[in-house]
Symmetry: C2
């Protein structure tokens, strides 16, 4: 990952540098007077962390705020503020707006595209002290919380009432609901509960000039004019700071099951998906895909085999499906009917399958799928693409990229070890991973812009879940045409005419 | 309704008049040169209907386009255009933008707030000739259609593949998918499938200056910058014309059931709702509420009683619940368990209940709920409010308004006959109806702004589903504060700086 990485930092730094130059007379770094001012307007002294006077924190106190989750991007902020209330956020932004200080909103700092850390020395505004649940209505399931609430703590808050959060992700122990909204996070429950554009009912946002935009509705239906809050869902901190979130949470399922199926051929994925939807209908909650190479890697790097090797000889790929329902007997019966149908199918849709019989088996089947990221990183250096393409093209896209690598001799020369695909069939979200022996310019140039062009040819998305951040600003054009990008820019300028919010992110 | 009506027309006309005056030198009525130009740029002569030369249509040809569904609002358009392609829409708007001609986009013209008809002599652009299905993917359920496709025809198109539209409404035979998106229509399936903000995946929109904004994604997940299409969902034709819609359609349920329950007390609604959600979980698809007076009116005006009178003596209200599931036996069992639980409850949550046993019984139970609008209009002159308030406040809101009418002597003097409430408990959407003997200023002044203030005190919405149109621009302030309205105005001005799109609608 390192080569891409350095390239990116360099490219971004250069780009941002020129922007910074263009603004040079007006944009200000945080100075000692600023820190003094912040100390005055924030209620608690611990809300200001700065290497500058009068704070004099050590630079190690700032390290975690300057480095992203992957260790890919590094900022040089001298100052981090941790406001405790919406009003404090408003006061900070009002001041930064006047002084033209660049700011980076930071949630749990688990983002995967470098959006949450400064590029240069922007002021970091961490939301972690804004962490109160404001209200929960156990009739409607509507939760209102400060943006800095950690996703998992919200799950715990509502669990006793029999509700779950409509989203779940690997980062749940650290990521914040505000960060989830700012990145429009997808995750494992999207197939069932839909996107945040549907489940977020309201937002409270502090605009770049400090104005508080109160759209914190707790109504499921409200058709009174433009739905402004939608713009902030997925805006990655570039047009305002989310301080409060109102979200619809669904009742918790009472029973869950999962199954892994081995398929003789890629072309069986869609028939199996159709049969699954038909038999599991409303209890289907996940339908994940991984190809043979991905499966073998998971086993190679320590996961228990769910099947004896001879049973899955010749399997081209696997699917994992999960049910979540209200009554165990019903869910079991639905799954059994499905399995009987696809097993007895004349065309042998599947080679074999395994159904979890206990919570630990349930967890270990999921672990194969969830452990792929780690297995890949143990196997080599991965070029990772988080893309959306039509489900029917999953194997084709992986095949096209593999063929390209073969054609360029990357495979025969051992530069590329594997090209694998896994992802959420239910959401059309494919994780394409090219595993190289080393990061290498030839491999990088073989893949980019090729992969993005392939995605564009399917009218796909170059970023299904993770967003643009600083990592993919140069590739945005493959998913959004010039007119769309021009209108994004107009929106950015409308809210943030001075360009103080998260500069260099999303838009170049 | 007539008094309110005239007041509204008058008020709007006056407001619009002053706007028109302000713009007077720049805004143009359609003239003969314009009609000639339109005739040239549109491929079919039948796409131009105008009383002006060279068309010379009779004014009766324009009647349907100038009158809204309720017969409340009447426009004076001389010209209606019915483009056949996105390109034609673009050419028309480009011309109108340059010439500063006001336009009103019109779908099926079933809107209930007067948004789809001209206030004065704006040009009407009807989408009804843009009516092709562009694609349907039977794996993902993603449908892409021209905006002018009628909702019901889309249902019919996808039914053979085992899918249904994620929304359903009484107007389905006439309303268009573009109009549904433009009004963010709710309807009967919202509880189950969520709002259009979640199910609409992409839009093609022609902006006021004729630019085509292509956001017609067919991806379920796409996090590449601001989600601009969201702004057009619910924008009621004021910032662009929707020409294409990409929407996620869910698999059709295989089994449906419904039940009507009679409750001794308002305060039982929530416990029954909770029990229902617990036992029916993922198969619950509707949970509707109507109070005693509403039920009695339905019976009085012709609906078959689902219960013998003595069984429901003392019932304060009723609920109708519906299930939609994948396996009939399972759904039946879930319903039976629910009924046993609430019947055997010590506190007697319900007086009695009736479960449909056949498709005709299913239809006749729904007919009671769906027939309320008609029953109300037979009973007297109704002041209708389509509001969102917390479910726990449904009865309180109705009671507060009834008390207000009593206090002002409206009930004792026979001016108001009933104050009733019904609606979607699942969505927090209450239809509050005040049935008067006659439309009357005293009644109107007793109710407004009182009802809006009550809604505002619950942080509710003054328009849960129907939108603002021309009818509620003056009341927008009760649901959206000054800052929100100011930002709506900025969005309007950003897209439509010349103010040519649907003037006088949504924003004053
Ligand atoms: C192990 C792991 C698993 C993951 N799994 C998934 C997954 O399944 N699906 C998925 O979609 N993503 C996934 N992600 C990435 C995902 O984007 C983040 O985990 C999460 O949504 C970000 O939340 P955060 O609070 O950490 O935000 P941060 O990383 O702090 O910030 C992310 C972006 O949002 C902005 N931001 C943060 N908070 C606010 C705020 N309050 N107001 C305005 N802007 C703000 C930041 O400026 C930045 O641009 C995963 C990440 C990890 C590390
Ligand atoms: C019997 C009946 C039942 C109803 N039930 C419900 C219900 O359950 N739930 C609910 O939410 N609503 C309901 N409605 C109202 C609802 O708003 C409309 O039925 C429907 O969504 C409007 O679609 P339409 O094509 O008729 O739009 P129109 O009435 O033609 O237009 C409505 C608004 O959208 C604009 N518009 C229309 N098409 C476009 C376009 N392509 N691009 C840009 N702007 C456009 C118009 O300018 C106007 O402002 C009902 C109406 C009726 C008559």
């Amino acid at each position: 990952m390192l080569t891409i990485l350095r390239q990116n930092i360099w490219r971004v730094a250069k780009r941002d540098f020129s922007r910074a130059w263009a603004h040079t007379s007006s944009v200000h770094s945080v100075n000692e007077q600023d820190v003094e001012h912040f100390t005055k307007i924030l209620s608690s002294p611990s809300s200001v962390i700065s290497t500058l006077s009068p704070s004099f924190s050590s630079s190690s106190d700032l390290e975690n705020f300057n480095a992203d989750w992957m260790g890919k991007y590094k900022g040089h902020a001298t100052t981090v503020l941790k406001p405790r209330t919406t009003e404090e956020v408003s006061k900070i932004l009002k001041y930064c707006w006047e002084r033209q200080i660049h700011v980076v909103p930071q949630g749990g700092n688990t983002g995967l595209v470098g959006g949450s850390v400064p590029i240069q020395d922007e002021l970091v505004i961490s939301l972690s002290n804004l962490s109160k649940v404001r209200s929960f209505d156990p009739v409607s399931g509507i939760l209102v919380a400060d943006a800095g609430c950690v996703l998992e703590s919200l799950s715990e808050h509502i669990a006793p009432h029999g509700f779950i959060m409509p989203l779940d992700l690997g980062a749940k122990g650290s990521c914040q609901i505000g960060g989830n909204v700012a990145t429009n996070a997808g995750g494992l429950r999207l197939l069932r509960y839909g996107s945040l554009h549907g489940t977020v009912l309201g937002l409270e946002v502090v605009l770049p000039d400090g104005t508080v935009l109160d759209q914190l509705s707790t109504m499921r239906k409200d058709n009174t004019g433009y739905d402004l809050k939608q713009l902030f869902i997925g805006s990655e901190g570039t047009i305002g700071i989310i301080t409060g979130v109102s979200i619809l949470t669904p009742p918790a399922p009472k029973s869950t099951n999962n199954v892994v199926l081995a398929l003789p051929s890629f072309s069986n994925v869609i028939p199996v998906f159709k049969a699954t939807r038909q038999h599991l209908s409303e209890v289907l909650s996940a339908f994940e895909y991984f190809d043979r190479t991905a499966y073998d890697l998971a086993l190679k790097h320590g996961h228990a085999a769910p099947f004896p090797a001879e049973e899955v000889e010749g399997a081209e790929c696997y699917v994992l499906l999960e049910t979540s329902g209200g009554k165990k007997e019903h869910d079991d019966e639905k799954i059994n009917t499905l399995l009987e149908t696809i097993l007895s199918d004349e065309d042998s849709l599947i080679l074999t399958g395994t159904l979890s019989q206990s919570p630990s088996q349930f967890a270990s089947l999921w672990a194969i799928r969830e452990g792929l990221t780690e297995a890949v990183s143990k196997e080599g250096k991965a070029y990772k693409y988080d893309i959306s393409v039509p489900v029917s093209s999953f194997a084709e896209v992986v095949g096209t990229v593999r063929a390209r690598c073969e054609e360029k001799g990357l495979i025969s020369r051992g530069l590329v070890k594997h090209v694998i695909g896994y992802g959420h069939v239910g959401d059309g979200n494919l994780h394409l991973n090219v595993i190289a022996t080393e990061y290498n310019d030839e491999v990088a140039q073989t893949l980019e812009p090729f992969v993005y062009e392939v995605v564009a040819s399917h009218r796909g998305s170059i970023s299904a879940e993770h967003g643009i951040g600083v990592m993919k600003t140069h590739a945005l054009k493959y998913s959004k045409d010039a007119i769309s990008r021009q209108w994004m820019r107009k929106i950015k300028d409308l809210f943030d005419s001075k360009g103080i919010m998260n500069p260099g992110k999303v838009l170049e």
